[in-house]
Symmetry: C2
Subunit: 373 residues, 2 copies
Amino acid sequence: MKKVGILGGGQLGRMLLQAAVNYPVETFVLENDPQAPAAHLCHHFTHGDIRDFETVYQFGKGLDALTIEIEHVNTEALEKLVAEGVSIFPRVAALKIIQNKIHQKNFYKENDLPTSDFVVTNSLHDLRLQSHFLPAVHKVSNGGYDGKGVQIIQQAADIEKGFDAPSVLEKKVPIKKEIAIMIAVANNGETALYPPVEMVFDQTLNLLSHQLCPAELAEKVLWKVEAIGLTAIKKLNSPGIFAVELFVDIDDNVLVNEIAPRVHNSGHHTIEGNYSSQFDMLWRIMLNYPLGNTDCILPSALVNLIGEDGFAGIPHYDGLEEVLSIDNAFVHLYGKHQTKPGRKMGHVTILSKEKQDLLYKANKIKHLLSVRS
Amino acid sequence: MKKVGILGGGQLGRMLLQAAVNYPVETFVLENDPQAPAAHLCHHFTHGDIRDFETVYQFGKGLDALTIEIEHVNTEALEKLVAEGVSIFPRVAALKIIQNKIHQKNFYKENDLPTSDFVVTNSLHDLRLQSHFLPAVHKVSNGGYDGKGVQIIQQAADIEKGFDAPSVLEKKVPIKKEIAIMIAVANNGETALYPPVEMVFDQTLNLLSHQLCPAELAEKVLWKVEAIGLTAIKKLNSPGIFAVELFVDIDDNVLVNEIAPRVHNSGHHTIEGNYSSQFDMLWRIMLNYPLGNTDCILPSALVNLIGEDGFAGIPHYDGLEEVLSIDNAFVHLYGKHQTKPGRKMGHVTILSKEKQDLLYKANKIKHLLSVRS
C-alpha cells in the first residue's frame, strides 16, 4: 500500500479520508489540533505544525506522496522531501506561486491570463498613493485565508483599513457572476474539467446564498471559463486538483480571480453530484490511477453551514431533523468541537433535475438549519 | 455527540464508518484484529473478542447505541447493556432469532412466512434418517457465515458431509431467481424498502456472477417480494437495517431464505446507486434522524472481488487501472492485509441507464480484476 500524507486535518482532510476508504492506501495526517475533523480517520496521526520545517520534513520522510489542505505550509521542507523522492500534490513551484498573492497576480499577467488590474503595495504608505485606483480590493500577499487578509477599499477614507504589509490592490470588477471550475491534472498531464459552479448571492444581505452546478452561463461565456481555467492550470504545470475562481463582468469578460491548488469548497457538491468527486479524483491522481468521470449525475445546489454570529462553544445544530427529511438533501457536518461566528461547520448538497426545486430547497435549508452553542 | 459502537471491524464496519463522516457521532469499534479494515476509521478502537461477555459489556458500557457487523456476538452482554440504557440495533430478541438457524426457520413458520420445508437435525444420526427429504441443504444452527456451515446434501451418499450438531435441513427449492431486499426500520416503526436486488449466476460455473438492481421481476412477483420481506421484518419488531434474502421458484412462489439484521453485501450498490445508502440509513436510524430516500439514482450492477484460489498473503490487485478507467465503475477495496481463497476483498459497483451496458461492464470487470498475492 502506498503511504500518503495530508498537511492539515480540517474538513477537507476529513472528506479526503472519507474518499480514501475506497482505495488501498495508508494515510497520515499532520495537524496541530488532535480533535480536528480529520484526526480520527487516518492510519497515523501526527500532532504538529504544518508551517514548521522540521515537523513537516520528519512527517513527510518515507511517504510516497503528500498533499495539502491549505496553502500555508512549509515549502522548504517540501522541497527537501521532493529531492528525497516524495511526490507533492501540487508541485512545490505551483504552491509557491499560489501561496503569495503578488506572485499569483504576476503569474496571470505573465501568462496573458485575463485578471483584474492591480498594483503591488508594500505598506500603508504605498496604499495611500493609490486613491486614484479605487474602488479596489486589498489582499495581503501571505497568509490570507477564507476572507481573512482581504479588505475592500471603496474610497480614500477606507485606506487606513488596508494592510501595512506586502499586498496586492486589485481594481474592483463590475461583477455579473462569480464562477468556480474544478480541474484535475494527472501525472501524465491529462486533464479533466468539472462542470463550472455558480456562486449565487443574496442581493439583500450581499452574502453567498448557495452554489449552483452547473452554472447558468451563455455558451460562449462557458467556453471562456473553460478555456481560461484550463490554460491557467496548464501553465501551473503540476498534477493535482485545482479550483479556479473567476469573475464574469457585466460585459461578459471572464477574469481569473484566484486559484486554489487543492480540493476546495466550490467542489463539495461533487461528492453526490458527480460520478467522481473532487476527493475521489485527488486519490486517483496521487495513486496514479486513471482520472475519473467529471460528469454531473444531476444538477446540484450547495448551502454552507456557518457558525452563527454571537455563538461560540460546543456546536448545536438546529433544524437538522427537518433538513434530513428533505429528499435528496445530503448533510455533511464536519465534526468540529467548537463553533465560532463565521466558521464553516458543514454543508448540505441538494440534487434535483429542476432548477426551481434546487432553489426552493436551498432557500428552505438556509432558513431551517443553524449552528449555535 | 452521541457515542455509537460497532461490534466487528471488517468491511461492513469500514463502509459504515465512511458514512458516519457526514454526521456528528463519536465512533467506537470492538475487533480482534488491530489491522482490520475498519480499525483506523473510528474515534476509539478496542482490541477484543465480540463473543466474550465481559469484553462486550465493558466496550458497550456508557455508549448511546451499539450495532453489529456480524450476528455472532455475545447477546448476554447486549441484554445487560440494554438494561442499562444502551440501544442495540437490531434489538437483542431479533438478533437471537437470526443467530440461530433453527429459531430463524421456526420464526418463519410461526409467522406464516413462506419458506422452504425443513426438518431439525441434532446430529448426523438424525440426518441419516432424512434420506427421503433429499435433495436438501444442511445448515448448522449456530456460527455459520458466508457459506461456511452450509452443505448441500444432494443424495444419500452426501449425508456424511453433513453437520453432527444442531442444524436445519432445508428442502432444495427449484430456484428461478435469488432476490434480496434491504429494509430500513426507524425507532418509531416507520419503514422504507429499497428496490430489490437480483443475484445473477454464471450458469457454467454455478457461481454468483454479479448483482443487479433493480431486480428484473414481473410486477406481481415484485409485490410478493416486497410484501413478504416487509412482513418478515415487521414481525422481527426491531429498528435497524435488514437484508431479506428470498427465492423465486419456478412457479413464481416467493420464499424467505434468510434474514440478516444488519448492513449486508446485497446492499453495497446503494452507496452510489441510491440516494441514501444502507450505511447512511443505519446512521439515520441510530441517531434518530428521519429515514433517507431509498430510490435508485440509476440502475446498478455489483461485482464482488474475491481472493483467487491458490493465493494467500499480501494482496495484489491485478487490472485495477483498467477497471478505474471504465466510466461510472466505482471501486471499493476493503484494505485487508491478507488475501485468502474466497475472501471478500472488495467490490465494484457500476451505474448505467442501460441494462446491456451494466451486463457488459460487469462481465468485463470480472475478467479484468483479480486478487492474488
